[in-house]
Structures are given as structure tokens and as C-alpha cells.
């Protein structure tokens, strides 16, 4: 397997806090890598370092063999890396279709407007928003906005998709639906790096798991290995119910 994404010694501090601290791992093509860790472990910061929202203080991000460290987010997006936001960022007054068209127009293939609408439509169908194409994004429910985040990212036809808690705040039925969507995305050959707190979901979706704690890599391995790692259980403050959930999910 060739590495699609390589992180090498990524470090980022805010004030005196090392949000991400010398982090390295690689992501193979076609893989789903789950990123877990307690709140404040540096997961979302890591996404912001990968897609250029923040420039790292040290370290390197290699994407498809090219150094993209500190590149502007729009350049990173253009190179085929799309992401969703934990706190949804809809283009509120624009319709669902227009939101997705933006993704397609300025994504990896940089499509012309006509072709972009087709790609947008396809992405909207994939996440099940095709019945709300003409609805302004602001009028969607939270679950709808989460789907829109995903559809917009997909419309860009990325090689790598960063998913930041797309399941958070959804009810069980919606979670099941989204898990199905993520599986379908993977079947299209898109590599996924996902942050998720919902243990059962991430354990069943991921090929491998990386555990972050205080900005550092605490553990890495197959879901079953990670779930049984004592350090990981301890990092979650020894919460017995969560530890049980980890085992249940493996």
C-alpha cells in the first residue's frame, strides 16, 4: 500500500499549550483511519494543521507525495483533500445544491459550473439530500446540515476526506444512516480520516485507530488492539462505562 497522507513530527502550540505535539502517522490509500481521544486531545487542531487552516510550528504534512505543509486551505482543497467541520459551516443563504456546487467547482477537479452541478447533484443523492436541493442551507435540521457538510466535501471528488464528528448530535436512526453513507463513500475508493466520539461506530468503521492524548499519539493499531490497550482506557479517565463500551465495540 502506498501512503496517501504522511504526518511527520507535527507540532502546534497555542500560548503555552502544546495542542499537537510531535505527531507522526501515515494513512494508506483506501483506508479508513479513526482518530479518537478525550476532549482537548488536539484532534480538531490536527485537522486544521492538515488542511492549512493553521500552519504548524514544526513538522511536515505530505499528501500524495507532495509537501503541503502550511499551504492555504484553498490550495489544499484543490489538491484533493476535503473536510467537514465539527461545528457545521453552511453557506446559509445558499441552497443545498449551490452549497454542493461550490464544493465541486473549487475541489480537486475544479469543474466548470455545468459539470459541477452534476457532481453536486450526485453528492447530494449519496447523502440523501436530493429531496431538499432548493432549500436554503439555513433551513436544514442539524442532521441535515451534517449531511450537507459531507455532501459538499464529496462533491469536490476528493482523494482524502477528513470527517470531524459527522455523527455527533445525531439520533440513532440518523447515525445508522450516516454509517451507511460513510461505507458507500469508502466503496468509491475515497480514503477517510475520521474523528469520532461514538465508539461503536468508529470501532466498526475503522481499519485502524490512532489515539491522541494531550496532543501526542497514545496508541495506534487495529480497533481491537487499541480497545484493549490499558493506557487508552486510562486516558479516558478510567471511566468504566466507556472502557466497557470500547470492549463491546471491538
Amino acid at each position: 500500500m502506498t501512503a496517501l497522507l504522511e504526518l511527520d513530527g507535527l507540532t502546534k502550540s497555542f500560548g503555552g499549550v502544546r495542542a499537537v505535539d510531535g505527531l507522526s502517522f501515515t494513512l494508506a490509500e483506501g483506508e479508513i483511519l479513526g482518530l479518537i481521544g478525550p476532549n482537548g486531545a488536539g484532534k480538531s487542531t490536527l485537522f486544521n494543521l492538515i488542511n492549512g487552516v493553521f500552519a504548524p510550528d514544526a513538522g511536515r504534512v505530505m499528501f500524495r507525495g507532495i509537501d503541503i505543509t502550511g499551504e492555504a486551505p484553498y490550495r489544499v482543497a484543490r489538491s484533493g483533500l476535503a473536510r467537514t467541520h465539527q461545528i457545521v459551516q453552511p453557506l446559509a443563504d445558499m441552497t443545498v445544491l449551490e452549497n454542493c456546487t461550490v464544493g465541486a467547482c473549487f475541489g480537486r477537479e475544479s469543474l466548470a459550473l455545468g459539470a459541477a452541478r452534476d457532481a453536486a447533484l450526485e453528492a447530494a443523492v449519496l447523502v440523501g439530500l436530493d429531496d431538499r436541493l432548493a432549500v436554503p442551507a439555513s433551513q436544514l435540521t442539524i442532521a441535515g446540515k451534517k449531511r450537507l457538510e459531507l455532501a459538499r466535501a464529496l462533491a469536490a471528488r476528493p482523494a482524502l476526506l477528513l470527517l470531524d464528528e459527522v455523527l455527533a448530535g445525531l439520533n440513532p436512526a440518523e447515525v445508522d444512516y450516516m454509517i451507511g453513507v460513510i461505507r458507500r463513500i469508502r466503496e468509491r475508493g475515497i480514503t477517510i480520516l475520521m474523528i469520532e466520539h461514538l465508539m461503536q461506530a468508529i470501532m466498526s468503521l475503522s481499519d485502524r485507530i490512532v489515539v491522541l492524548n494531550s496532543g501526542q499519539k497514545l496508541a495506534e493499531g487495529l480497533p481491537a488492539e487499541v480497545a484493549n490497550n490499558p493506557a487508552v482506557i486510562e486516558a479516558y479517565l478510567g471511566d468504566p462505562s466507556l472502557a466497557a463500551e470500547l470492549h463491546g465495540g471491538s
Binding site: 486551505p73 484553498y74 464544493g103 447533484l121
Partner: protein
Amino acid sequence: MPQGPAARGDPRAGVLRRPTFWLIGLATAAFALAPLVGDDVQLRESLLLASVYITLASNLNLMLGYAGYINFGSIVFFGLGGYICVWLMNAHGWPLAAAALAGGVCVSGLALLFGLGILRLRGAFFALSTIGVNEAIKAFVQNFDPWGGSSGLYLSTTLFQPLGGPMRALWIIYFLLVATMGVSLYLSFFVKSSKFGLGLLAIGQNEDAAAVLGVPTPRYKALAYSASAFLPAVAGGLYFFKSAFIQPADAFDLSLSTEAIVIVMLGGQGTIIGPALGAYLYEELRGWLLVSETFSNFQLVIAGALLLVIVLFAPGGLMGWLYGRWPRLRRVLE
């Protein structure tokens, strides 16, 4: 936005089927022809001002309505375009059309340079910097002797001769200004139907999200700023040629910038027709206020109050209000 997927193919193919496209042409033709019927000079003067306002507002809308950046100093384009045109004609004997276009090109180029700098700022800071640009250029011109410093430039009346004398020249200037207005509206129309326009709208909604989606935000903003400078500069050249006089106080009058913002908000920011509608209404209102005994020179007070009311109660302006009442109108009047 068309409803069925079938109507949603290549948007370019549908240009001729969009009523707004024809409406712009019709309005421009009506402006050109209305004063010709009956040789009505008073109507011509009133429509001339309206077309200047529409040009200023429609181009301001590219930044304000599409990209969501408030440009308080947009009048600098108009004034500087006026100066370049008048000076090229006076000192270098350029013909009107060439001088006005040269003004547009120069101002647009300058705006691109300024834009790459000041568009790193956002919100109130950007708005303040645009006032700064206007004031800086004004101060420069006030001290620039080739342009007459603070006393300004007078055009030699002989410059009207190549256009067939002053009477005919006034008509020619009028038609050129109406054409500039028409081109401004079509610019708005085609930008909005383009990928560039989609990117600008995304920036206007949420700039950070737009960048993450791949919109090259610095380049697009600077291009929009530059594009929004071109036609106001051309209009400035034509307008000040007509006045045969230009001085810094008139050319860089911030109150005109503010009026342009009121006009865009009144008509409906982000729409194509809105700024034109707003400009026409505002010009009518202003004309009425100027002739009324009680309200002379009162238009800025009214403008301020109007802006307050719009921002508070109808942020979508007239078009927003119309869309709210008749949602289907969105497809007819863009």
C-alpha cells in the same frame, strides 16, 4: 434557482431564457430613448444622474452584495477615473472615449494592487481602510500640481468641438453613460451566473468555509474589487467631462459613497436588479427633496434614516421584501 433537475444543466445555455437578461436590455434602451422622444432635456438630466447612480450602486454590489465586503470609499474609483480622463483630454488631447476607458483601466489596475493589500482585512477594518484609500488619494490629488491641486482642473470648451458642439456633446455623453449603466448591469448578471460569482457568493456567506471548500479567496476578492472599479471610473470620466470641471471635493465626496451603499441596501444587496431599482427610487426621492422648499439639502439625513430602517426591518431591501411576498418572483427578477 430552477426546480427540476432537467432545467439545471449548463446555466449558460439558459441565458436567453432568463427574463432578467431581457429586462436589463429593455431598461437600458428605455433610458436611451425616453428623453429623445420630445427632446426632453430635463428628463435627460434626471436620467443621466440615475444612470450614474445605477452604475455606482451596481458595481458596489459586486463587493457589498456578492462578496459581503462593505466598501465605504467606492467613490474613489469615480473621482480618480474622472481626473485621469479630464487630464488626458486636457493635457494630452486624447479623445473622450479613449480617455474614459484609459481611466477605467488605470483605476481598475490600481484597485487590484490596493485590493491585494487591504482585502486581508475583514469586516469593520476593511470598511475603514476603504475610507482611508479614498482620503489618501484625495490628499494626493490636492497636492498634485499637474491636476490643479485643490483648485482642480477646468476643461477647455474647445474640447466639445470634436463631438459636434456642446449641445450634441451632452447627448453623446448621456448615451455613453446609459451604455455604461447597461454594461454594469450585464456585468452583475454574468458575474452572478459564473463560477467566479459562485465563489464570491460563498465568500460573502462564510469566507473561512469558502476557503476550505477551495475558493481562492484572496484572488477572487481582489479581482472583484478591481472589477467593481472599472465602470465607475469610466462613468467618472464621462461625468466630469460633462461638468467641464473637476476638483477633489467633488471627485472624492464620501457622502456619494454612502448614498451608493444606501441605494444597494434599499434595492436589495446581492440581487442584480435591486441596486438599479434602489438607484432609480433614490434618485427620484432626491430630486423631489431638492426641489421641495422644506427639505433642500436634506437628502443625506433621509439617506441615513432610510439605511437604519432597511438594516433593522428589511435587510433584504426591496427585492428581499418582494421575494418574501412572492417567492416565485425569484425566478423572474434576479
